[in-house]
Symmetry: C3
Subunit: 267 residues, 3 copies
């Protein structure tokens, strides 16, 4: 099944509109190209909705927000909704400021999010309205609690919810994929999370009728790329080389490799 999903990405080459932070914007564009999709960025309220209406999917990444980008996100979310293409929300550091919390609330309450992906702190902030995560890193490692929280949040929002961590949880509120791909090195670069949400957006946009499984496939693909990249490291390599190897690994992955390398259980 993951094979077909990945093959669809490479065949359909979905065009992905992202409104995103500038820290990881280049890596995110390159990973979209690596998986076979095509990236476009536009963040002015003067054009964002028009750009979205040309695209197959929309990725909203809340890192480094500005008032202008927030307005563009809302206009693009509406355009995506009208065109019935999937929107993937990455609420980067949502607990770190009122501004980010307000933006996330406007987006989630106002529009359908096909997928919401965060670490445990970010999802907790969104689901419980709780403050207190420290920047963009996770502070909460939850096992069963995370699964229950993700399921109820998915039911409420009618979104597929992804909670990243030592294991990753993907759920539509009913079924749960528990995914064990990936490696610790992925937390030593900036952008692992951003690249994952972009990959999810590409996978879901090429498989819009199968959001849950596409999302799980993208999470496995990203983790598997991390494993491949880590194996490739020599003793002089550090996080910069790892970053390159990670994108390279997605470039060289195909449906069969993904199918074989994916480590998950369905609950």
């Amino acid at each position: 099944m993951f094979k077909e999903i990945f093959d669809n990405v490479r065949e359909k080459k979905p065009l992905i509109h992202s409104i995103t932070n500038y820290v990881t914007i280049n890596d995110c564009a390159n990973i979209v190209l690596a998986c076979g999709a095509s990236p476009i960025m536009a963040e002015s309220p003067d054009e964002s909705a028009q750009i979205t209406s040309l695209c197959d999917g929309l990725n909203l990444n809340m890192g480094m927000p500005t008032a202008q980008k927030t307005e563009a996100m809302l206009l693009s979310a509406r355009a995506a909704s009208r065109k019935n293409i999937p929107t993937v929300l990455d609420p980067v550091g949502v607990g770190a400021s009122s501004m980010r919390k307000n933006t996330a609330k406007l987006l989630i309450d106002g529009f359908d999010m096909a997928v919401i992906k965060g670490n445990s702190s970010e999802i907790k902030t969104l689901a419980l309205g709780i403050n207190g995560n420290r920047g963009v890193d996770a502070d909460f490692d939850g096992g069963e609690d995370v699964t229950a929280l993700a399921k109820s949040f998915a039911k409420r929002t009618k979104s597929v919810v992804v909670v990243t961590g030592a294991a990753d949880t993907v759920t539509d509120g009913e079924r749960v994929y528990l995914i064990r791909n990936g490696c610790e090195m992925m937390s030593r670069i900036t952008g692992s999370g951003c690249m994952l949400s972009r990959l999810i957006c590409a996978f879901v946009s090429a498989n819009p009728d199968n959001v849950l499984v596409s999302t799980a496939a993208a999470v496995c693909a990203m983790g598997l790329a991390g494993e491949t990249a880590f194996e490739r490291m020599n003793d002089k390599d550090g996080n910069a080389s790892f970053r390159n190897y990670l994108i390279d690994a997605v470039f060289n992955m195909d449906g069969d490799t993904l199918e074989k390398g994916a480590k998950y259980e369905i609950k």
Copy 2:
């Protein structure tokens, strides 16, 4: 001839002011350094004209436009015109929104562009006012038609026009360079086009009396770097490594390598 042009870049080290998108901004700065020139970025209307007036060339890249950047581009284009330094326009995704079309029109109608570089869709949009390109990729592969269109557009704008594609066309409206350097892999990274326009700007700024030939030399240099980078790839490398190899190849290129490796005919 290309040798002298490239040698001039390394010797004169022109300072290149760019107003550009954030996706490829780092790669573009590094390729400017790789070829021997020096990059500076400034995009606030409060300083852009002042910065331009310190520089040897101006590169305007229309990816990710904002109202503020558009205003800065217009102020800088005027400053470049007053100082009589070349402006190179890269109308990224110009067909994708009204905002981009309006900005391109203001720039081209209001100021002298030494060079306008785009893919066939972008040049078609500018030359014919036709809509319909899908994002930033080309949708039009034209052979003879492209050449005729580029020539008439070059005559009308008094600019050197570059149309990138399987083969690249460079013309001042009279002479035509048809260039066959490059490789398909260049379309699998973000920024090949942006880096090319930055390289053109560096080459033209160091050779302002020879815009057509300098532009052709830069197009050959970029394509040749692509070929060198592609040859260097091993079976684990993907688009991230290719991107690094591409910039490395420009860094290690010299006038002689360029002279020998350039593949073009003059029509």
Copy 3:
């Protein structure tokens, strides 16, 4: 001593808030992670002070200024001052525009800067109010003059002042570290200076009671990483690979390597 300072960075993992240019923002985030600290970016006046108040250090980089970012810098500088965490100022290209000069003046006159780091042109502009540096590169190579200027500027601002160059000067107005790590290749990539100021911020934030020595340690660490990266280069490598090797070298450095490799004299 440098060993303890670096060990503290890896142990305390300080969270570093940066308001910065977009050219080098990704490299800067990755070098923060490479040294063991954690990066966060926020540049909207609507959230910047709130983000700063979660952090252990603030890094203000004046490349690519906008009116909005300037406002965010001032709000964050005040928040840092209130929380008593160190602010590190990198006045990129300060001589190139009135806007940058005004911003630097507002920051330095209004708030305590733990460290101010620039090349000789930038520090000369700040210390003497002199115009005329050409972009972001140094135009002034000063030996004894630089040391005297840096000392008097450090006394006046009560900051540790760093002047980068063939040798780097670090002073609190009394003691002077003259540092001879580094290599010429570092000037052939964009971001060496930006990454250095980020590294300084990480080191100082983990050692806030020892600003002078922490700053000197960070300058040595950056230069040593440059040497390691340069030694790793093969004949196909250029500035793109060097950039990766530089970040990798910080990733693989530890307190002992730094202690052994640091080349400095105290005056």
